[in-house]
């Protein structure tokens, strides 16, 4: 059975619903409310649960939990009194729920379908993503080349010097390539 989200209207509705949901979640501070929202989100997005949770755990939890723990410990040391834990837990929970909902929605929504009524936006997205893909490959190759040329680990100065050269090359390649893609898309009615 085809996914319901391949329909442009369904994808658009999902994206709009996601926007409303993340803004609403970003207003919550109460732990009970956040726990209830987390339970609802886990239930609604149970398909692909592990994948979305893993992505959220990798990309957001280390930063927000680390920042919360360090700040809490620092404030305890400076003030001499133990700060209330609840706001720190709420901060970590809020960021994690938003990340989970975002990853779960991005797994389901077809953003190109959602943007279909706006051909200029679609063209810009395609151009940008195509260039990002090509340039990331070039940047990774260049960094590996830099590592292979040096006997030691690259230092900040090496990385910055190399980045300057790569950026100039990327700029030239990217502008030429983007123009070609844009003309190809225009000739296909975008």
């Amino acid at each position: 059975m085809a996914s319901p989200w391949t329909d442009p209207r369904a994808s658009r509705a999902l994206v709009v619903g996601w926007l409303a949901a993340v803004f609403a979640i970003s207003a919550l501070t109460d732990l009970h409310a956040l726990a209830a929202v987390a339970a609802v989100a886990l239930l609604v997005f149970r398909r692909g649960l592990g994948r979305s949770l893993r992505r959220a755990a990798r990309s957001v939890v280390p930063l927000s939990a680390g920042l919360s723990a360090i700040s809490w410990a620092f404030l305890w040391a400076v003030r001499g009194a133990r700060p209330d834990v609840e706001p720190f837990v709420a901060l970590t929970l809020r960021t994690t729920i938003i990340a989970f909902v975002t990853f779960a929605v991005l797994d389901r929504a077809n953003l190109f379908r959602a943007f279909e009524p706006w051909p200029t936006a679609t063209r810009l997205l395609v151009l940008t993503l195509a260039q990002i893909h090509a340039l990331r490959l070039l940047a990774t190759d260049s960094l590996q080349g830099l590592r292979s040329r040096l006997l030691r680990k690259p230092r900040a100065r090496d990385v910055v010097r190399s980045a300057g050269g790569v950026t100039a090359a990327m700029f030239t390649l990217s502008a030429r390539n983007a123009r070609e893609i844009s003309e190809a898309m225009r000739s296909r009615g975008f």
């Binding site: 993340v22 501070t29 920042l67 810009l124 340039l135 990385v159 910055v160």
Partner: protein, 212 residues
């Protein structure tokens, strides 16, 4: 450096969108308006370039790393508003396709890293370029990084002032935590990167790439 979703409440994120939205419209009309068929590839490639530049990590003593922003380069080559549009697109792509940063804080991040930083850098470059161009470019990139970081720290500090229950970390902690790496490593790296890239772009003698 940018603020992730959930760190700022709608009290800040909604007004930031309200400020950003007309600026996006104005910037798009002014710099990418009528000839959008011609300018779209340029916006796309500049956005992609900025995105990739932001993935280049700079090792910082202590085992961590920071990243370049690359927006001063665009502000100096084109205009601060071009940098604003491109950085906003970078942040949008990061939020939509890579789950980084966030959609609720897009306005705040775009204003800090895409507008205030590059605008400050551009003004510094304008003021110093007659004295020494290389110094002017380096100082512009360095100042741009500091202003952008300060703006991010300010937004977090404001959130704490509005509601300590929402964001429990005071400005006294946020400010040194963000500014020390920015002043000692990220700003210097951004300055060196902007200087190297501009000199290489000049040597390449590309059409439409000029500081004049």
């Amino acid at each position: 450096m940018h603020v992730p979703d959930g760190f700022l409440s709608p009290q800040i994120t909604v007004p930031a969108y309200a400020v950003s939205a007309p600026l996006w419209a104005w910037a798009a009309r002014r710099h990418f308006g009528r000839a959008s068929a011609e300018s779209l590839p340029v916006i796309g490639s500049l956005t992609a370039l900025a995105f990739v530049v932001q993935t280049i990590m700079i090792p910082v003593p202590g085992g961590t790393s920071t990243h370049l922003v690359g927006m001063t380069l665009l502000a100096l080559l084109y205009h601060p508003l071009v940098a604003f549009v491109c950085e906003s697109l970078v942040l949008l792509v990061q939020a939509l396709f890579f789950g980084a940063g966030g959609i609720t804080v897009l306005g705040v991040n775009a204003l800090a890293m895409g507008l205030l930083g590059p605008l400050a850098g551009w003004l510094v470059w304008k003021a110093l370029r007659r004295l020494n161009e290389k110094v002017a470019v380096f100082a512009a990139a360095y100042v741009s990084m500091q202003v952008a970081t300060l703006a991010v720290a300010g937004a977090l500090g404001l959130q704490h002032a509005l509601s300590a229950r929402y964001f429990p970390v005071p400005l006294a902690v946020v400010l040194p935590a963000t500014m020390i790496p920015s002043l000692t490593a990220a700003g210097l790296a951004e300055g060196a990167f902007t200087l190297f890239t501009l000199s290489l772009l000049r040597k390449a003698n590309l059409r439409g790439v000029s500081l004049d």
